[in-house]
């Protein structure tokens, strides 16, 4: 054992990174008291899906390797094993340690296994080299994603800024599908401790029900399938939420969602199941109105859930240019040129390509059933209505 290496990390007050964050002093306690380390396991949390610190396996490979070696030597670990997600195939090939792909089966971990997140090991290496600890995060908005690495204590706002993004109003979610919605005040708090590795910006139109639905579908797909609650619970949650966002929810679904999410979170053995319902459990309480609106009222107040909205052509703006009709793959657009276009809602697949193609911005989403254009073939200019959005 190399006590000086350990002492340095402890003096720096380092924490284990990830969903099971806790001071290293606490995590190392049994090993410092004499339990031998059989294996150092380097792994992401099972709940992780963004792997923001992926550069540790490429650009910062030397740093990560020195962190692994430092801990291995410090605890005289017999072996090292690296677990990587499938999508990081080959990234640890040159490390000289056995690599396994997929989720960590926590049931296979023994008393002698010391498990560390790659970011923790990198920070141990940084501290050994006299540097301060850092934190990777991915900032995302719409289709854009940017990974930044800042000093550990950096605020949420700091990460957003470093990624070259900004948000005036709307919603910020930290931790992605398994995270939480932040209050404006939390933007000036350090990201570390609030959530993991992903900050998602929704300047307009954030629907917590739809977001929770995506998260539960993801969890159901990612579940290793060993635990009943994680496997079947997330499947059922995703079905209930799917019904909610497609207008098929029923009154009893809300208590089911409460019961299921509580059970999945409490009974799962790894972070995937435990964290998979974190967002839902908070949102069911803080955003209960939104769940009510979807399930009872059959509406999405943020116009995110497509089942409750249709694309429609504003009859007062359309110039009958035919551009929308030429991009529509579903063949759902009628009339033109010269006539005001109309969208057949039964054919429409709500892909939005027409709206993007329209030079007049005459196509937008309206609540199902709302009329903003003519009901029969009408020449351009012959339709008048107020252009007020509902």
């Amino acid at each position: 054992m190399k006590p000086e290496l350990i002492q340095k990390a402890l003096d720096a007050g380092l924490y284990e990174y990830g969903h099971h964050a806790r001071p290293l002093a606490q995590k190392w306690e049994p090993f410092l008291e004499g339990r031998p380390v059989k294996r150092l396991v380097v792994a992401y949390d099972n709940a992780d899906y963004t792997f923001a610190s992926q550069p540790l396996f490429t650009e910062e490979k030397a740093l990560l390797l020195s962190g692994i070696r430092a801990v291995q030597e410090a605890f005289d670990a017999e072996g090292v094993e690296i677990f990587l997600p499938e999508k990081m195939q080959g990234l640890a090939d040159g490390f000289g340690y056995p690599v396994r792909y997929g989720k960590v089966d926590v049931r296979e971990l023994g008393e002698g296994d010391l498990l560390h997140h790659p970011e923790t090991l990198a920070n141990i290496a940084r501290v050994q080299a006299g540097q301060g600890p850092m934190l990777y995060a991915q900032v995302a908005q719409g289709g854009t994603e940017k990974t930044v690495c800042l000093p550990l204590e950096s605020t949420v706002g700091g990460f957003i800024q470093a990624a070259g993004m900004a948000i005036e109003e709307g919603t910020v979610v930290a931790g992605g599908w398994f995270g939480r919605m932040l209050t404006p005040a939390q933007l000036s708090q350090p990201l570390y401790g609030l959530a993991n590795c992903r900050i998602e910006l929704f300047p307009q139109g954030f629907c917590p029900v739809s977001f929770a639905q995506e998260g539960s579908a993801h969890a159901a797909a990612e579940s290793c399938g060993h635990c009943t609650f994680c496997r079947e619970g997330n499947y059922q949650i995703s079905r209930f939420l799917k019904n909610a966002v497609t207008g098929h929810g029923t009154e009893e679904d809300i208590p089911w969602l409460h019961t299921l999410s509580e059970a999945v979170g409490e009974e799962s053995v790894c972070s995937l199941g435990q964290e998979s319902v974190r967002f839902l459990r908070e949102a069911l309480v803080s955003e209960s109105k939104s769940f009510d609106a979807h399930i009872r009222g059959k509406r999405c107040d943020k116009d995110v859930c497509q089942a409750f909205t249709d694309y429609a052509v504003d009859g007062s703006l359309c110039v009958g240019c035919d551009k929308c009709r030429s991009v529509c793959e579903a063949g759902a657009i009628e009339d033109g040129p010269g006539f005001i276009h109309r969208i057949d809602v039964f054919e429409c697949v709500k892909c939005g390509k027409c709206a993007a193609a329209c030079p007049e911005k005459a196509i937008y989403r309206v609540r199902v059933g709302r009329l903003i254009g003519p009901t029969k073939a009408t020449k351009v200019g012959r339709f008048r209505t107020s252009r007020k959005r509902y």
């Binding site: 290793c224 009943t228 079905r239 059970a263 009974e267």
Partner: protein, 698 residues
């Protein structure tokens, strides 16, 4: 290890240190519903049924170690509600209809459903899109019914160390499947552990297992109940003497049987579903040939003398077996044998090239040395007289009378009968044969006759039988050996007449068989019209069955084929007269005869006041390791063939035609065993009613 006590629902439970709360509770007879837990597997805490509440938290009790003084609740509002939720979730992804499931009534999931009164109402039901798969040998995979308890995977990985099956995920659906495409290419050892521990109808045996539970079919099929799988294991481990001891526990004359047994164990061997059965008979012989000191002998049981006297008639396999066990039970035994030497069919029937006479003499010597008096050259005609002189009589005279078919010409001097022909040959006085011998019959005795005729110098030996090749009563090995020795076989022939002027034979007139079946033991034969033909020959040997030499004047009730009618204990109509072997059930096999002899000995022992327990322990058997490990290509390992003497050499005399296994061959062949017996170590599914009746500890 010091005991730990804790409270379960207010009741004090004592547990072993390191035990889980669940297993401690079950041991103490307190049922906590559970599904993925199995007493012989490491626990996984996966199914969510064995939930208990401890210190305000709801946790799986199977992975919760007992702690002194802990208070555990398995009942009550929240814990039960959550357990019910787990079952609801499982049921929502399980087919609704139990009545069409082969596991109906024996399914642990069904039992849980009944016990907890839960249905998945309110949840979305789905059927897992996993097709029924019967492409694998022995095991059916119906994973639509799987609840992913993972027992099979743990059994395969943790208990067996094989790892042929595992969790897989496709299109969002988790399922368990062979790691390769099929079990054969996943290095499966086909031990059946996965099937044994499956709580539902997901993993099923292709051949249904009875209510008695699974036991290795080689062992259960052996008439003598020889512990086949374990002696194969001992041979694999090179422990030939131990194997010999184990074999002798159940089988007298085992080495003789190693040469000639018709091995029903091999027909039952589950490996035949993969490729070929294990060569069990040759393995047995290999072990017995490597026990020169006969280490089993000193451990033989011998009860003190009872003063009772038993007469055994017939020194064949059945009579010798009966005499041997009766003597060991302490009775004084006298055997009456018509021939000058003991052995019956082993000596006077089965030809020497199959059954070496020194082996027979040696093994019979082992039996007789326990103190059996044999009176040779002595025919018994009056059983009543014998019954009056002895406390009990056992008739084991076998079937000694060959049958001539009732067809014209059957009494010509050149037409012989199987048993006479074989006996005279064995005595060194074979009857004169012509150049062209035709043996009528297709059983093993017919092969013995024809192969003997070849060895006696007949130039052209043929066989003709009623059956066609696919339902030939004789062994396949015999057919192959006979063909190699140049014997031609006419299948599907019925015999009409032995033709020839006066005493001469020029051929046998036959007619082709269209179909044949036995109805209530009677042959129904349909022949092809206008298909009469003559097979030319100058000598005929009838090998069409044999019967007992009994007559009604002997005072015993007789049944079909002159057999003696006995009850299940081998009792005849006379109070102290018993019978066993072929004379009671018709011509069958040596192994059945020795088993029958032993069973009659037990009946007689009980009749004479003994306990009828002839069992003996010749080896303190260690427990087989459940961890069989991985062996690439195991499923395809071919059966090891023992060497044979080339046909052109063995034709010329009565030297042994086959060779025994070498050590290397024996080890290799023993390694092909599926070790089905290991499955018996694993508990079959248990339901909550088992706990109510007797408690888990029972």
């Amino acid at each position: 290890m010091k005991p730990v006590t804790f409270k379960l629902d207010g009741v004090t439970v004592t547990a072993k240190e390191g035990q889980s709360v669940l297993s401690a509770a079950l041991d103490a007879g307190h049922y906590i519903p559970h599904l993925c837990h199995h007493p012989d597997l490491p626990d996984a805490g996966a199914c969510g049924l064995c939930l208990v509440e401890v210190e305000g938290k709801i946790v799986s009790s199977c992975t919760l170690p007992v702690r002194e003084g802990m208070e555990v609740r398995s009942k009550g509002g929240k814990v039960e509600a959550r357990r019910e939720l787990a079952l609801k979730l499982l049921l929502a992804a399980h087919p609704e209809d139990c009545s069409t499931c082969p596991k109906y009534g024996k399914c642990e999931l069904q039992t849980l459903m009944q016990y907890m009164g839960v249905s998945p109402e309110g949840l979305e039901r789905r059927l897992k899109p996993i097709a029924y798969n019967d492409q694998n040998p022995l095991i059916i995979h119906d994973m639509m019914r799987c609840v992913l308890c993972g027992r099979c995977v743990r059994a395969c990985h943790k208990v067996r160390g094989v790892g042929a099956i595992d969790y897989k995920k496709k299109d969002g659906e988790t399922f368990i499947s062979p790691v390769g495409q099929l079990l054969m290419d996943s290095d499966c050892r086909f031990c059946g552990a996965c099937v044994q521990v499956c709580p539902t109808g997901s993993l099923m045996d292709k051949e249904e297992v009875g209510d008695q539970g699974f036991s290795a079919p080689c062992k259960t099929t052996c008439p003598a109940g020889t512990n086949v799988p374990e002696y194969i294991r001992l041979i694999k481990e090179g422990r030939y003497e131990d194997a010999s001891c184990l074999i002798h526990e159940r089988l007298p004359l085992p080495r003789s049987l190693g040469h000639i047994c018709f091995h029903p164990c091999e027909e039952a061997c589950r490996r035949h579903c993969l490729n070929e059965a294990v060569s069990i008979r040759n393995l047995k012989l290999a072990a017995l040939e490597r026990d020169p000191e006969k280490v089993w002998k000193p451990k033989r049981k011998q009860l003190p003398d009872t003063g009772k006297r038993v007469a055994v008639v017939g020194a064949g396999p059945c009579g010798l077996s009966a005499a041997y066990y009766l003597r060991k039970q302490g009775h004084s035994v006298k055997v009456f044998e018509r021939q000058p030497q003991p052995g019956g069919m082993l000596r006077y029937g089965i030809p020497e090239y199959r059954m070496p006479r020194d082996v027979v003499a040696d093994e019979i010597g082992d039996l007789l040395e326990v103190g059996i008096d044999v009176q040779y050259n002595s025919s018994v005609g009056d059983y009543k007289k014998l019954a009056a002189e002895y406390d009990a009589v056992v008739i084991a005279i076998g079937n000694q009378q060959g049958a001539r078919l009732p067809i014209p010409g059957s009494d010509k001097p050149g037409a012989y009968v199987n048993l006479d022909f074989l006996r005279q040959t064995a005595e060194g006085n074979p009857p004169a044969l012509g150049d062209n011998v035709l043996v009528l019959g297709g059983g093993n005795v017919a092969f013995d006759c024809s192969r003997t005729a070849v060895r006696l110098g007949a130039k052209n030996v043929q066989m003709a039988c009623l059956e066609n090749e696919s339902n030939l009563p004789g062994d396949q090995e015999e057919l192959e050996a006979a063909r190699e020795e140049g014997i031609a076989i006419h299948f599907g022939k019925s015999f009409l007449e032995i033709v020839g002027e006066g005493d001469t034979i020029t051929g046998v007139k036959t007619v082709d068989v269209k179909s044949m079946e036995f109805v209530d033991g009677k042959l129904n034969l349909e022949t092809v019209p206008d298909s009469e033909a003559v097979i030319p020959c100058d000598t005929v040997i009838f090998a069409t069955g044999q019967r007992a030499e009994m007559s009604p004047e002997m005072g015993l009730a007789l049944g079909r084929g002159n057999s003696i009618v006995v009850d299940g204990d081998g009792r005849t109509g006379l109070e102290n007269v018993f019978a066993g072997g072929d004379v009671t059930y018709g011509t069958q096999s040596v192994v059945k005869a020795v088993a029958s002899g032993r069973s009659v000995a037990e009946s007689v022992d009980r009749f004479l006041g003994g306990d009828g327990d002839t069992s003996e322990k010749l080896i303190d058997l260690d427990t087989a390791s459940p961890r069989i490990g991985k062996e690439p290509g195991f499923g395809a390992l071919p059966r090891v063939k023992n060497g044979v003497v080339p046909a052109e050499v063995r034709r010329t005399g009565f030297m042994r035609a086959e060779k025994s296994f070498t050590c290397e061959e024996a080890c290799k062949e023993a390694g092909r065993c599926l070790q089905c017996q290991l499955r018996e170590q694993l508990h079959p599914p248990k339901t909550w009613t088992d706990f109510e009746e007797g408690g888990a500890a029972k």
